[in-house]
Every structure is written in C-alpha cells, then in structure tokens.
C-alpha cells in the first residue's frame, strides 16, 4: 500500500525487520497460568471473543434464568403494597427460586463443562496447556474454577438480584444482620449447587472428546437419576432421604434447607442427607475427572 507523502516531506526511515525481542521481566509462574486459563475458559463458555452463534446459547440460558427474578421484582415494584397483599400473590422465597429455572439450569450445566473441557482435548490445546507451567491438577483446578464461576451466574446471580431489589424496595430481610445472613445463604447455597453440578459435568466431559456426547450424557444423567429415584421412592416406598442423590431434586432441596426452609414434599430429606448426597456426587465427578486426566497421554 502506498501512503501519499507530501512533497518535500519524504519518509526518512521504514521498518524492515522488527527483530526478536528478549523478555527479561517478571513471570507469574503457576498462579499466572491458572488465572489466564480460568479467564480464557470463562470467556469460551460464555462465547466471548467468538462468533455470534457461540454466544446465543449461553447468553439465552443466563437471561432465561433471570426472567423469574425480574418478574417478581417487577410485581413488587409496580403493584402498591396493599393491592399486592390483597392480590394473594405469594412471592417465592430465595430457596424456592430454582424450580422456576430448572430447565434453563439443566441446559446450562449440560453445555458449560463440555465446552470448557472437551474442546481442549479435541483441538489438542490440552497438550499446549500441559507444556506450560501448569500440571494436570492445576489445569483441572483452573477449568473447574471457570465452570463454577460460569454456573454461579445462574445459581447465585438471580437470588442475589432479588435480594438487592427487595432491599431497595423495603421488603427485604430485617436489619443488617438479616441481610448478611440471607446473603451468606444465597452465596453458600449457590456455590454448593455450582460445585456439585460442575463436578458431575466435568466428570462426564472427561470421558469423551465430543461436546455433543458429553452434553447429552449430562442431560441423561440428570433426567434419568431423577426419574429412576422418583419411581424407586414411590414404588418401593423408600425413604425420602434417597432423593439426596437425585440430581434434580437433591441440589434444589439442599439450597432450600440451607435457607432454613422446610421441605413440604420430601420431609424425610434432612440437611445431613442432602449434604451427603451432594458430597457423594461431587466426589464421584471429581475423582472420575482427575483419574481420567492422570492417565491421559498428551504429547501426541
């Protein structure tokens, strides 16, 4: 390309070769590698710096999960207080929120981990990651942190939005202590749910290089475990505690119990059982994932 040069102002120099620059500054070692892996994985899961199509599913899922919260906030904001009370509309508690977004939540957990983990193996990126200061464990830890972060947008974000909006409208928890306790329960419950689903979906994703297979398997696992346990408890008249390992009912019930809300349908499912069920799934998923990656041959 020729750049017009004003007469009498001819260029005196031009770049022929930029040369190769040495780097003698500080290096962040493993911590920096983990942070950049986490950041890149979050971006990938949300479709950032990628094509428009790659953004559709994650952004739609996140938006859908916020819709009920926005509706509830709108009801509180638009209807006068006495009219709202007269209408008999009962706002859901923070623990009761998740059944409203069950479909979006299930879809979201089914595609986030496969996108983050399967893609690296399929494209050979895992070899490049493991040729960096990361090792298999720090690599998986970064990936797991990214999946938990993205899932938290759905498991923590909507109830948190409700809390903030309710406080602003004067219908939130009483006093700073009440707000702090509710905030802690929202974050704690959301994190537990995100970690549980991250472990399960990472465990499944570690077993195949194909995102579609992993997504389908996660969906099947959630649905089949729910149907199978539901039938088992009903037909065989097993205690409600068995619902602790139900991948749909278990985590949602656990969040309700963390919020101190009684379970009307499954009164036999207590907090210790719910925690044990969540811990079991988390342990199984994490173990499968780690063992698979310890055995992975990566230099090819």
């Amino acid at each position: 390309m020729t750049v017009p040069v004003p007469a009498g102002d001819a260029p005196r120099a031009r770049i022929l070769d930029r040369g190769y620059r040495r780097y003698s500054g500080p290096r962040t070692q493993v911590r920096g590698a983990m942070v950049t892996t986490w950041r890149q994985s979050v971006q990938r899961a949300l479709g950032l710096r990628r094509s428009t199509w790659a953004k559709v599913l994650p952004i739609a899922s996140v938006l859908i999960s916020y819709v009920p919260a926005i509706v509830f906030i709108g009801l509180v904001a638009l209807l006068p207080e006495d009219e709202f009370i007269d209408s008999g509309i009962a706002l859901p508690t923070y623990g009761e929120y998740f059944p409203f977004i069950q479909a979006a939540l299930t879809l979201f957990i089914a595609f986030v981990a496969p996108e983050v983990l399967c893609t690296d193996r399929r494209t050979g990126m895992v070899g490049i990651y493991l040729a960096s200061p990361l090792n298999r464990d720090t690599y998986l830890l970064s990936k797991a942190a990214a999946v938990v972060t993205v899932l938290s947008m759905v498991t923590i974000g909507p109830p948190l939005l409700m809390l903030v909006a309710y406080i602003l409208q004067g219908v939130g928890p009483d006093g700073p202590a009440g707000v702090a306790a509710t905030l802690l329960r929202i974050v704690g419950g959301g994190l537990v749910m995100a970690i549980l689903y991250a472990a399960v979906s990472l465990g499944v994703s570690a077993l195949t290089d194909r995102k579609a297979f992993a997504t389908a398997t996660v969906l099947l696992l959630v649905v089949v475990s729910s149907v199978f346990l539901g039938v088992l408890v009903d037909v065989a008249d097993l205690p409600d505690a068995f619902h602790a390992v139900n991948l749909l009912i278990g985590p949602i019930s656990l969040v309700q119990l963390i919020h101190g809300e009684p379970l009307v349908e499954f009164d036999g499912l207590t907090l210790p059982f719910a925690i044990a069920g969540a811990a079991a799934w988390t342990l199984v998923g994490a173990t499968v994932c780690r063992v698979r990656y310890q055995l992975l041959q990566v230099t090819r």
Binding site: G25, Q29, R50, P133
Partner: protein
C-alpha cells in the same frame, strides 16, 4: 525489574536466599554458551513403558547448544522423549536434566523456560491467531500487556503479520505450522521442542519453515530440538543430531562428527582432464568412482596421502580435496536401523536387523 513474587513451591530448586530466582537469570546461565560444553538436555538410561510397549529402552541423550535434530522412524520414541523432557510423564528408570533441572521434580520451572510445538495440526478453529499466541504467552507467565505486544511481533516474525487476526480454522496447514512455531517462541524460551514442524507442508513451505528454524537458532539465540523423521531436514538446519532407534540412541553428536569419517575416503576435483589421475589411482590399487567432475576415492587415512602425491606428481590444478562426508542417510544405514517398536526387553537386546527398503525410503523422503 521485579522478582518472581509468585514463583511456585515446586520450583524451590531454583530459589536463592532472597526468594525466587528470576527466570531470565537462570536462563542466561544457558544462553551465550553456543559452542561451549554445556549440554541443554542430558538424559541417562531412560526407560519408559506405555503399558506392555517399551517406548524408550535405556536412551542416553545429550543435546548441545544450537539446533539439534532428533531423528528416528515413526515409533522410535521421539515423541515420548519430548514428553519426558517436558515433565509430562515420569521415566520408569533413568534420569533427565533439562537446562540443569529435573523435569519430574521442577516441571513448572522447566516448562516456563521451554517452548513446545506439538505434532498435531488441530488448533481451536474459532480463535484468532493473535489471541491464541497471546494466551500461550500468558500461560508462560508474561503479563497481559507484554503478551499482547509479543504475540503480534512474533506472528510478524514467522510471516503472519497480516494474517494475525484470522481465526485459526481458516488458515492453511502451512500457516498453522507457523502459528504453532510462534506460540512456541512467544515467551522467549531458552529451549524450544519442535515435533515434526514440517509435517504436511509442500516443498516451498518446508524450505521456509526450515529457514525459520535456522533463524530461531542463529538469530534469536534459542536452542532448538527438532524432532523429525526426514533426514534431509535435519541435515540442512541442525548443528547436531541424536538418532533414535527402537527406543535407544544409536548415534549422536555434532553433524560434522556424525558425517565425517576417517575411513570414508577422499573427494577430489581437478581442473581439466582427470583421466590421468584416475589411471594413477587405479595403478596404486585404490577403488575410485566418478560423478560429474568429482572423483570419490575409497580408502582409509592413507588414501588422502596417495591422492595428494599423485596430484603433485601429475601437476594437476586442484579445485577440491577433502575428506568424504557421509550423508545422514548413510549414517542411518550404517547403524543398521529399522523403525518400529522398541526391543522387547533391555536385558536381552536383539541384534539389529538389516534395514528394510521401504523404511529407508521413508526416512530419506
């Protein structure tokens, strides 16, 4: 310059009393020794099994500074050796030192200073080249701003300056090979491991890639270990070579050492008619061959003296008189090499069989 505040406990081996040692300080211990005795990689008696398959059968490897070729047929253990050098696997037996460090104990520290270009061509198709290279730079500890600048620079260096914002999936095989090379050197490593970097390239692209590799070794001052099964490539760019066969090193050293032979005879070229010289050499009982103007005289050390004496007696003007050098292909063949799996057991090594014609063809293709 700030020091490595975030250095990992795993790299305690390179800490000093004041804390973490700087990567560049450690690196400089290995830079600037070109032509010296310092080995970049030393592996002794390395054994590695993959299940029941013996991939490395007691390999002793010593890689010096500069560009070194790692030669061997498919299945000879090249890629396994690269994985061990990166600390991705533990050897079943033997010891490895890379840049003076044990990669099994100080893997993160070794990998921070080593670049690696894998054999496979598949890269994330929807990621721009510059984003990909920047990400790898950050993985190796460069701050984000520095990584961004260096990613553009290094893509420019490998000839992809104009293409740097293109997604990798839209690039040709040659361009992707260049991107792989760029990501391997973006963090200014001390040593770069290139696994079959010319795989899938046409002859012109291959020449360009080899020139780039030579430039990395010469101009950038980065030591290169080039894994290849193509002898010609190594012969063109390498200072030295390590030849692997069936999981063991059968030959290694500088290229001049490998190719030179005191028993290989003499190459002589004279101005004008060379028939009197041919007749004189035949009379002295030395077997000769002629290729164009060049006369190849077989024999030991004495052949050189005989040729010199006859040239002087016949008063022939000399254009060339030098020891005959073997090509790497001849080195390969003289080692009696075959590709394939490693020997079944170290304790009972089988004598090497004669080379199969098709394997020799592959190695020299």
């Amino acid at each position: 310059m700030a020091d490595l505040g975030a250095c990992d406990p795993a790299i305690a081996a390179v800490r000093d009393e004041s804390g973490c040692r700087r990567v560049d300080a450690v690196r400089d211990e290995h830079r600037g020794h070109r032509g010296g005795d310092d080995a970049v990689v030393v592996a002794e008696g390395v054994v590695k099994h993959w299940g029941s398959t013996l991939a490395l059968a007691g390999a002793d490897v010593r890689v010096g500074p500069g560009v070194t070729g790692l030669l061997g047929a498919n299945g000879s253990g090249k890629t396994t050796l690269l994985g061990l050098l990166l600390g991705l696997h533990r050897p079943d037996q033997g010891s490895i030192r890379v840049l003076g460090l044990d990669p099994t104990a100080a893997g993160p520290e070794v990998r921070a200073r080593v670049g690696y270009s894998p054999e496979h061509h598949s890269l994330p198709p929807d990621v721009k080249a510059v984003d990909f290279v920047r990400h790898v730079a950050e993985l190796h500890g460069l701050p984000r701003r520095e990584a961004t600048g260096r990613a553009s620079d290094v893509l420019w260096q490998v000839g992809l300056g104009e293409e740097r914002v293109r997604p990798l999936g839209t690039m040709s095989t040659g361009q992707r090979q260049r991107v792989k090379l760029a990501q391997a050197i973006v963090h200014d490593p001390v040593l770069v491991l290139l696994d079959e970097p010319t795989e899938g390239l046409d002859p012109v692209q291959r020449d360009d890639m080899l020139a780039l590799i030579r430039r990395i070794g010469d101009d950038f001052g980065i030591h290169v270990l080039l894994s290849s099964h193509v002898l010609d490539e190594v012969e063109r760019v390498a200072d030295g070579a390590v030849i692997l066969h069936a999981g063991a090193v059968v030959s290694s050293g500088s290229l001049s050492e490998l190719q030179a032979t005191s028993h290989g005879g003499v190459v002589v070229e004279v101005a004008g008619d060379h028939r009197p010289l041919l007749a004189a050499l035949a009379e002295r009982g030395l077997p000769v061959g002629v290729q164009g103007d060049r006369i190849f005289v077989e024999g030991g050390v004495e052949a050189f003296d005989v040729v010199r004496d006859e040239l002087a007696r016949l008063e022939l003007p000399v254009r060339r008189l030098e020891p005959r050098r073997r090509s790497l292909e001849e080195v390969f063949l003289s080692s009696g090499l075959l590709g394939g799996q490693a020997r079944a057991a170290i304790a009972r090594p089988e004598p090497p069989a004669a080379p199969a014609a098709d394997e020799v063809a592959e190695l020299s293709s």
